[in-house]
Every structure is written in C-alpha cells, then in structure tokens.
Symmetry: C2
Subunit: 438 residues, 2 copies
Amino acid sequence: MTPQTPAGRFATAEIIAVGSEMLTPYKVDTNSLVVTARLDELGIQVRAKTVVGDDRGDLTAVFVQARARVDLLVLTGGLGPTADDLTREVVAAVLGRPLVEDLAILESIRRRFASRGLRMPDVNRKQALVPQGATPVPNPNGTAPGIWMDEGDRGVLLLPGPPRELEPMMERFAREVLAGRAGEARLHRRVLKITGRTESQVEELTLPIYSRWQHPDPPVATTILATPGQVELHLSARSRVAAAATERLAGCVAEVSAVLGADIFSADGRALEEVVGELLRERGLSIAVAESCTGGLITSRLTDVAGSSAYVRAGVVGYGNAAKIDLVGVPASLIDEHGAVSEPVALAMAEGAGARTGAAIGVGVTGIAGPGGATPEKPVGTVAVAVAGPQAARRVRTYRFPGGRALVKFQASQAALDQVRRAILESETKERGMRNEE
Amino acid sequence: MTPQTPAGRFATAEIIAVGSEMLTPYKVDTNSLVVTARLDELGIQVRAKTVVGDDRGDLTAVFVQARARVDLLVLTGGLGPTADDLTREVVAAVLGRPLVEDLAILESIRRRFASRGLRMPDVNRKQALVPQGATPVPNPNGTAPGIWMDEGDRGVLLLPGPPRELEPMMERFAREVLAGRAGEARLHRRVLKITGRTESQVEELTLPIYSRWQHPDPPVATTILATPGQVELHLSARSRVAAAATERLAGCVAEVSAVLGADIFSADGRALEEVVGELLRERGLSIAVAESCTGGLITSRLTDVAGSSAYVRAGVVGYGNAAKIDLVGVPASLIDEHGAVSEPVALAMAEGAGARTGAAIGVGVTGIAGPGGATPEKPVGTVAVAVAGPQAARRVRTYRFPGGRALVKFQASQAALDQVRRAILESETKERGMRNEE
C-alpha cells in the first residue's frame, strides 16, 4: 500500500548502487543503508534496491525500469574520473539532458588538487560535467559533487560511492531539500533488542499483543528479526503528527515490555556492550574479564564503547591451562577435577579476574569454540559463563551454542555480556527488596 | 561484453533477494555473495542483483524485468510458511505454472516436525507447494526445499533465505546441476592481499604491469580494492582450459610479487590472522599479546583461527596504567617518563607479555582510539606497536590512523599482526644471511 502523497511530493524511492566490485563475492553495498535511514525518517518508502556493474547497457536498463516504478531514484557510485565511471553519462542520456561543463565545479576541483600542491589531471575534468538544468550537491570530502535533477513529480539524485563522501552529503540533502519534498507523514521507528528468547518464543509472546496494533491512530507495523545472540522487534508507525506516532510507539513498547521484562536489553538502538557499559559507568563499577574460548572478544566488545577506559579494568585471555592458572589463579586441582570447560573453573576465572585487578565485577568464560577439542559430553559449542565479584550477584551457566567457531565465539560473548547485565540488575532488585523489608 | 555460450547453456545471471527486512537501514543481503561465488566459479556472470520487499507487485515487476535480461535467475528468501512469503506464488504466476502440492515434500516436512516431537502447523503445508514441472532442491537444514525450474535456454532457482540453509544447497546445486549447464569457460581468480601500501601506491606500482595483461591467452582483468588496513588486487581470467588460466594467473602473481615483495601477505585468500597463525604453527613458535587501545581485538583475531590454541599463549588487556604495570610488568618510571602511549612502553609491554608467559614472541600495543584521550602531540589514532621476544626481530613503530574508534582499533590490530609477520620473516632472512656467511 503506497501512502497518498500530494503532487510534487515523493512517497516512494529506489536505490541503485553502481560498481562492478559489488557484483563480486567480496563486497556488499552498504551505502544504501545510510540512504535508507534518511529516506525512512522522511517517510519516503524504499521499495527496492539494485546493484549493477559499470556497464552502460545494464545500467541504462535498470535505471529506466526503476524510474517507471517510483518517485525518487538515488544512484550511488560511478561519478569518478575514470572511463569506468558511467553514471552521469547514462542518466543524462536517459533523461535527454546534454552534459555541460560547470565552471564553478571545475574551478573547485582544480583548487582541491592545488591545495595538495598538485595539478588537476585531465581525466578529472569529467567530474565537472553536469546534466543540463541539474543542481550540483556540494561534496566537502571529495572531488566529485553530487547531482540533483528535479523533474517535478520525480527526482533523481546521484551521489559518489565512497561512504565518507556520501554520508554527510545525503544527510544534508535530506534535511535541506528532500524534507521539503516528502509527504507530511513521517516514519517513526522503535527497535527492541532481546536476549534469552528464541525468535519463535518472542513471536508467540508478542503476536497476541502486536496483532491488535493494526488499528489506526496510527497503525504500528511489527517485524521480528533474529540474529545470532539476539532477537530484534522493529515497530514502526507512519504519521503526520510526530507526537502521535511517538506516543503510540511508546505505548506499544510498554505493552511488550510488560511481557518480556528484563529480556529486553535495549529500546533505543544501543548494542549490548553499550548497555552494559552504561550500567557500569552510572554505578561507578569496574569490570575485569578472564576469557578462554572467546579469545578476547568480550573485552574487545566492551572496549568498542567510547569512554570504556573508565570501567574496563583489565582483560586476560588464557587459552591453555597454564595461562588460566598463572594469570587468574585458577587452582590446578579444580581443572583436574572438573575439566577446563566447567562451571567451577568459569567461576574461579571470574573470581580470579576480579581479585587480581580489584574490579567490582569479574567475568569468566571457558568453552569449546571448535572445530577441535570436543568430547562426547562436551561437544563444540559448550561454553560455561560465570559472573562474580564483590558488586555482582554470583551467576554461572552452561550453554550449547550452534554454529561454527566464529558464531560460537560471538554467541558466548553475547551471553557473557548479558549475564553481567542481569547480575547488575538482579543485585539491585535484591538490594531494593532488602531495603523494603527493613 | 557477454561471453558466447552454446544454446541451453547459461552465461549470465541476476540475483533477487526477497524480504522487507533488507529494505530497512539495519540489514544487508549477504546471501548474494555466496551465490555469486558459486556462479563465478562456473563462469556465469552476475550482471545485477536486486533486493525487493515482501510485496506482490514489486516482486512481480522486478522478476519479469530481470528475467528478460539474463539466462539464469536466482531468487533467495520468501519461501517460508507465513502470509508474507510470496516468492513461490509470484514466480509460479509469472511462469504460468500452477502450484501443486508435492506429497513427498509434505511428508518430509511432517517428519521434520515429528522428529522434534511436534505436529506440523497448518501454515507449513504451503511449503510443500511447487510450480508444476519444477524440481525440488533438497534442504538438509530446514523445512522449505529450494525449487528449480528448467526452461531450456533459461533457468529459475528459488532458495530459502536463512544462510545456513542456503549455503550448502547452493554449493551442491552448482556442483550437481549448474556445472552441466554453464559454458565451458570458467572464471579463475586470484586475490593478492597487501599491507604497508596505499591504494594509489599499489595502482602506481602495478599499472605498468597489469596494463600488459589485456592481451589474450587468456586476458587477465585487474581490480584494486582498498579496505581499512589492507589493499586487495583481484586478478581474474576466463578460459575453457583450467590449466591455461591457472598458469597465466600464476605468472601474473609472480610479476606483481617481484614488485611488491613482502607487502603481499596472502595470495590465496587467507586473512592476515590466518597467515600469521600458519607462520607461527609451522615454526613451532608461541605468541603472547599485551593490548591497550585495541582492547583484546588482536588476541580475538588470532583466536578466530581454528587450531590457534597451539600457539596463542595468552593475551592481556591492560587499559589503565595500573594494569600495564601489574599484568605485564611495565616499569612505572617508563610510563612517567615517556607517557603510556609511547614506543618504549609498547616495547616493554611486548617484552613483558613474552617474559610473563614464556612465549617466543611478545606483542605490545598502546594508543589512543578516541574520541577522548588525545593531546596536541598525540592525536586520536596515534598508536605504538612493538614486537619483541627471544624468537622475533625487535621492532617498534608509531602509526597515525584515520577514522573513528572502531576503525582505529581495527587498523591497529592489522598493523600489529603485520609487524609480527614481518618480524618472523625478517629473523629468517637474517638467519639465512648469517648461515651463508659462515
């Protein structure tokens, strides 16, 4: 269902990424995610996106057909100076606009080279060509400007391929030009991130709730997305009145939260490491991690967050038994008795990490990432995760994760971060409980 | 230029990924990379790929138009049991093949549920429908089989969306069916991965070489791809005679190697952590890493490699000064004198990591990943990387990496792994030199 939009306003869009390298097994188009985010905010629906190589015939066919389907076309890539770069030529030919040299652009490209002490190579002259009547879109980070062709009920926007050039250009163009050409209805979105539940459990628990959201004012659309280690619930509402949509979505989030409780770790787009980081930072808690099968991934994810040096005390990766014994003081007898992959060893690692570094919370993870090291009782994917320390509820749990080495590592890191989160929340609940009893 | 292919053989393909979630700002289609890899090997050229939502009209339009352009269409996704899943219906309607229930499929879906002690829900019955005359493609990892429609000069393949279902299905189908329908010419590819050079340096050094490769027997196409921390040179040749292409590519690799030398770290697709792992394993060397700004990423990448427990002794993440002093024994006076981010501290970390764990090679990395912590002399992206130890040539170097926190972390991990690689190669060159002098 395409929303009703007044004449001269854009309701639908397609994105075409141009470049043969994106037709190899090695490279995906990610620019379209940035373009989609900006169009989404304006309520312009992306109906399809296409990747096409540096080939005049293919690009012409794809462009002509997409143009017949939607109001707005955004093409990325193919604006460079080489013979491969065909986007401006093909678009100009299809739209019947001859290419003309823009002297201001030519001059700014010359200046860009001059500022680095270079003469502009002749090939770059091509980047000053624009289809007649088109508007150049400034590019603060590169030589090729974008190109905007307004055709009344339709629009065509060309942007350069390098992400650091495209991103600020798209952001500014959406704000300054597209916002005035979109319909009044905007798309509002909330993303709930969930751990500890499978996709079908989330579906089962939330279907009776979200099936009631079809009714207007405004209707809320729901998508469930499963990725390794978490399930996402995407809620979106289209409305002319921002406050109405925001309020409606907040109501929906509250309904779902009542059912899923602490299994929802994020309702504002934050990743698990950011959520855990904020819990630690707000409470002035420090953390230390002793990792075996995750090989440093937990500490690396914790330190992906800006400002994490305030709470990450240390991380220790002890792959062999000797390292577990020496670096975090796991008793050798414990390993002999229970095996390196066991709950007692995970707990000893957590306690040792905390004790050796003076951190408030210690984490210990030991497991079998595969493909080697498995036994009949402990298959690949067996991972024990423990949390301990003066400021954390002591927790330990053994998981069996599916998938290969990389997937086991990631899921184990996700489980460890989630256990830290739950340990912090649980200690608080207990404290509150005790205070209430006093 | 489309290669000449006999009648009934497939020369060109397009891929259509079906699913509204891939039209959000959150999810890209990666299945097409797997499909492309298999088609590439058979010399079937992927000309374009499209993502389209769960919408009957959009999918019909995209399917009809792509079908007119190429010999083979591969559609992924939209084969599930829910009302959203429209691929089989749309394709059947366009091809004029009524959907018929396949009793063998129905039975196998029922058995799949029964094996987990469940009754097949009614909705799953839909997954047993196949367009008349189509061939089901077995799916060992899920309920929905793939569907293959052979139309003589054209073919349409439908595959389910979940990657762990799609990958083995595509691999087997390419081998067992498509191989017999592709032209005799196959695409052969070599990927050279390079560190220590910028994209334009690689271009400058190799252009005079690869520009001579246009001549036949067979011609070799070259693409340069820059990603953070490495530059890739992709060489490909299409030929009916595998040995001719392989030999020709080997010659090209040798020509480029003569110019780029040890800057090429991989000529067979391996990642840097695999190359370093193999150097260590082959020589019976062990490694220990002391990380600051990389936060565990180096150790995590080393342990991404299967079998790495044989050589990864330990990793230590010391984010603060105290951790650097306690965990790897960096003298406090060294930090006072030179600052935590300095070459002497990086070297002390490398030496401490080796000494504390008895590893043959120690790595030390200290730097400013940002956004905080910068000073005028040491801006964000300043990273000191050191390698030391009884079995490694002692090396230290300071880098200035561009980009935000994640990018600085990754580039620093790449530089550290590369320094380990070069240190090992250099010690050997020196040893050989000394032996020759004796």
